[in-house]
Structure formats: structure tokens, C-alpha cells
């Protein structure tokens, strides 16, 4: 793995294109949380030609639904949910400017080809280290869909969130290369 570099969100295609699968990064800046239900609502709103409350250009979307924050804390435990469930909604979002996604698990071929076309990256946070990730969130507010509870659309300010590049904008995947090297079944 390459050595850790810092990245600021939102970011441009050019910055995304410098990242390679396997790179470790520390992400700071402003990102958004949206998971299953928020994706559904966003795509329904877009289909009705409504404007979203999130600026998608250069945006990074974190597939996450946090635990409630304790009083005095900006955030409760937070971590990635499995990304494939967002695949059906992702193509449109990539076309509209999303440059980064944070999740866990494989993506569909369609998503990967759209990432290549639009110069986007897929970043991984380790699943199940949510107490540690919570401490990288500096501020958080609900942007929309508050009634969805943990699934609301949120804006987060993050500092030095530890992530790994899972799929880069050339389509290289850490999930393919890692297991291929350590597997003993030739799969």
C-alpha cells in the first residue's frame, strides 16, 4: 500500500485521478451521508426535476446511517454500509458530478464503468470500526429527509478520516488484487 496522503472534499476529477486502488488516505472537508432510503428519495426528486439540497458537483457521499449522537458530541458511531444496494441509484449521481463514494463491498460493473467515464473513486472505510470513525467527525447537520431518522441526508465535516481507495478511476480494484494474492484456491 502506498503511503498515506491527505485529501480534501469536495474534490475534482483531477485529484480523483491521482488516486490508485490500495492507497491509504486521510479525508478532511465536507461530505454527505445518504443510504438506501435517501438515495431513493434523491432519485425520485431528480426524476421530478426538483433541485436537491446537496450540491453534487465534486461531492463525496458516505453510505452511512449513524447511531444517535450523545449530548455534546457532534456524531454517534458511524461506519459504511454495504454499497451494492446503492448501485441502482449511483449512475445518475455520477453523471451529476459525484466524485467520491465511501462504503464497503463490491460495486456493479455499470457503476465501475461510469466511475471510469466520470473520473470518480470509490473509497472504503473498514466496516465495524464505527466508534473510531465517529471521532473523525467535527460537525454534522441534517440537510433533508429528517423523517428517515438514521437514514436522513446529512452534511458532515470530517477531519482525517482514514480510508482506503477500493476502486480507482481506472477501474482497478483492491478487492480483486488483495484476495488474488492471498487466496489458495486460484479464485
Amino acid at each position: 500500500m502506498e503511503k498515506c496522503r491527505r485529501l480534501n472534499a469536495p474534490f475534482l476529477e483531477k485529484e480523483a485521478s491521482n488516486l490508485r486502488a490500495g492507497d491509504e488516505i486521510l479525508l478532511s472537508g465536507v461530505i454527505y451521508t445518504a443510504r438506501d432510503a435517501a438515495h431513493k428519495r434523491m432519485s425520485e426528486a431528480l426524476a421530478r426535476n426538483e433541485k436537491l439540497k446537496v450540491d453534487l458537483s465534486g461531492a463525496v457521499i458516505f453510505y452511512a446511517g449513524p447511531a444517535p449522537a450523545r449530548p455534546g458530541e457532534p456524531m454517534g458511531s458511524i461506519g459504511p454500509t454495504t454499497s451494492y444496494r446503492m448501485d441502482p441509484y449511483t449512475l445518475l449521481l455520477l453523471e451529476l458530478g459525484v466524485k467520491g463514494m465511501i462504503g464497503k463491498g463490491e460495486r456493479s460493473e455499470d457503476v465501475v464503468s461510469s466511475m471510469k467515464k466520470n473520473g470518480a473513486v470509490y473509497l472504503g472505510a473498514t466496516g465495524g470500526i464505527a466508534a473510531l470513525l465517529a471521532r473523525t467527525i467535527v460537525a454534522s447537520r441534517v440537510l433533508d429527509y429528517e423523517d428517515l431518522g438514521p437514514e436522513a441526508l446529512r452534511e458532515l465535516e470530517v477531519r482525517d478520516m482514514p480510508l482506503v481507495v477500493l476502486i480507482d478511476s481506472l477501474g482497478n480494484s483492491m478487492y480483486r488484487e488483495g484476495p488474488a494474492k492471498y487466496g489458495k484456491n486460484g479464485k
Binding site: G76, K104, G105, E106, G178, P179
Partner: protein, 281 residues
């Protein structure tokens, strides 16, 4: 007849769910420490270290282990010589879940109706409640908050008896291979063999309650567990799916009698946040 107030059931369930969501059981900590020592891929090794660090931070009681605080699965062994008084047992359990997820700042992840509305119930109820009536006066409660990442990758097959142990092996390994990084490896693999369609799924879930490093008391099943663990780790999926030599921390098989024509097998995967906690009333 012994009497147990419903309120006591509620309080116990509440305490156990908070405890389970903040404190990883000792058997999981020990297999994670062992995994960290044995893992050969440096990137995956550092995932193990992060998981152990996460567990330490969670145990301070401010942030739960995982943001997915799970479906509230409750196993209740009810001594037949004991009566629950002052309330209904199921309501008492659900009230315990409600209080735990509120007071413990745990995420509420249950939708009331699964297909059309999918509206969050707001309090993580209803619980999935498995009650067994047992001899004596004992009331034993085990709670197991179960995350969806690994639950979604679980599978069930009605194999033909002719498929034999090889058939079971193939199905288990194929399930883990297909799951890849999704269930947050390193995982614990709960396997049920026998019973019927719904019974085998419960066996697999109960298998996850056994300590990750324990072996079946039946020598042939114990040997199958060891064989499966080796073959799963040969898949190379590794911690977080980043590639590595430790994908599973344990394989636990529970079995039960079945029909002459049946050989059901269920695989319930659980992430490294294999949370469970027990108490007796």
C-alpha cells in the same frame, strides 16, 4: 410456582442490549487478538489492530461498537415452573429493547412493514424473540444484536441427503466466497444442519452464540468445523476483504434430527462485531 415480574424481564433485556452493543464478548476479543498475530497481509493485519482499538474505545461507553446496532434478537429459556407476572412476556421484552436503544444511544434500524412503506418504527422494536420452555425454574436470556451487512449475506439450502458432508462443505464455502467483503470480515460462520426449513435457520443463528473458538461436542462435526475453517481461510478474502490469510475466526455447526428425505443447511454469517450477552433471572 416461582414468580418473575415482567418489569424484571424488561430491565434485564435493557441492560443486556446496552452491554452487548458497547462490550465485545471476551471470546471474540481473544480470537481477534489471535487473528492479528497470525495474519500475513500487513494491510489486513492493521485492520485487525483497528478493530481491537475500536473495541477499546467502545468499551468506554460513549460510542457503540458499530453504528448498526442490529435487529434485537432475543433467546429466552423459560423454566416451566416460573410464571411472568404483571405483564405480558413479549411486551416486556420489547419494552426492554425500546429502553436500551433509547438510553444507550443505539441506532434504530427496524422498518415496520418490509415491502411498500418501509417506515422506521423509531424504537428498534419488535424484537425477534425465540422462546423455549425448559424444565425447572430457570429464566435465561441471551441477546444478540445482529447487523444487516452479514445477515444479508446468509443463505439456506434444502440439500439432498445424497449431497453428504461434501455438499454441506461446498454450500458453506460458496456462501462465504460470494459474500466477499460485504459481511465485514473477519467473520464467524454459524452453520445449521438438519431440522426443517425454519428450524435450520434458527440452528445457524444459535451456532453464532457459541464461543468462536469452541468445537462441536460431536467429533465428526468438530472435524468438519476445523476443515471448513481452513478452507474458508484459503479463500484469501481477509479482514475487510483487503486480502489475507484470516477470513473467519471460527466455524460453529449446530445440528438436529431431520426428515428421511431432507438435509437442510443454513449459513448465518456474522461480522467481527459478533455481539451477544446473557443473564439469568
Amino acid at each position: 410456582m416461582r414468580q418473575v415480574p415482567a418489569e424484571q424481564v424488561t430491565e434485564t433485556v435493557e441492560r443486556l442490549f446496552i452491554e452487548a452493543n458497547y462490550h465485545l464478548p471476551p471470546d471474540m476479543v481473544s480470537v481477534l487478538e489471535k487473528g492479528e498475530r497470525e495474519e500475513q497481509n500487513p494491510v489486513a493485519k492493521s485492520v485487525f489492530r483497528t478493530i481491537l482499538e475500536n473495541r477499546r474505545v467502545a468499551s468506554e461507553g460513549k460510542f457503540p461498537l458499530c453504528q448498526d446496532c442490529g435487529m434485537a434478537v432475543v433467546f429466552l429459556d423459560m423454566g416451566q415452573e416460573t410464571a411472568v407476572t404483571g405483564g405480558n412476556l413479549e411486551n416486556a421484552v420489547n419494552e426492554g429493547v425500546r429502553r436500551a436503544y433509547d438510553k444507550g444511544y443505539l441506532r434504530k434500524s427496524i422498518v415496520g412493514e418490509p415491502l411498500f412503506e418501509r417506515k422506521n418504527t423509531g424504537d428498534n422494536t419488535p424484537a425477534i424473540l425465540h422462546v423455549r420452555v425448559v424444565p425447572g425454574e430457570r429464566v435465561a436470556i441471551t441477546v444478540a444484536p445482529k447487523g444487516a451487512g452479514s445477515e444479508n449475506m446468509s443463505a439456506l439450502a434444502m440439500l439432498s441427503p445424497a449431497a453428504g458432508p461434501e455438499g454441506v462443505e461446498r454450500f458453506v464455502i460458496e456462501t462465504v466466497r460470494k459474500a466477499g467483503p460485504n459481511p465485514c470480515p473477519p467473520i464467524v460462520v454459524g452453520v445449521g444442519v438438519g431440522s426443517d426449513f425454519e428450524g435450520v435457520a434458527e440452528l445457524a443463528k444459535r451456532a453464532l452464540l457459541r464461543p468462536a473458538e469452541s468445537s462441536s461436542s460431536h467429533p465428526r462435526y468438530a472435524a468438519l468445523e476445523a476443515e471448513l475453517l481452513r478452507k474458508i481461510n484459503d479463500l484469501g478474502i481477509g479482514a475487510a476483504g483487503y486480502g489475507g490469510t484470516v477470513t473467519a475466526l471460527g466455524v460453529n455447526i449446530e445440528w438436529a434430527p431431520t426428515h428421511i428425505a431432507c438435509m437442510p443447511v443454513a449459513v448465518n454469517l456474522c461480522c467481527h462485531a459478533n455481539r451477544h450477552c446473557s443473564a439469568e433471572i
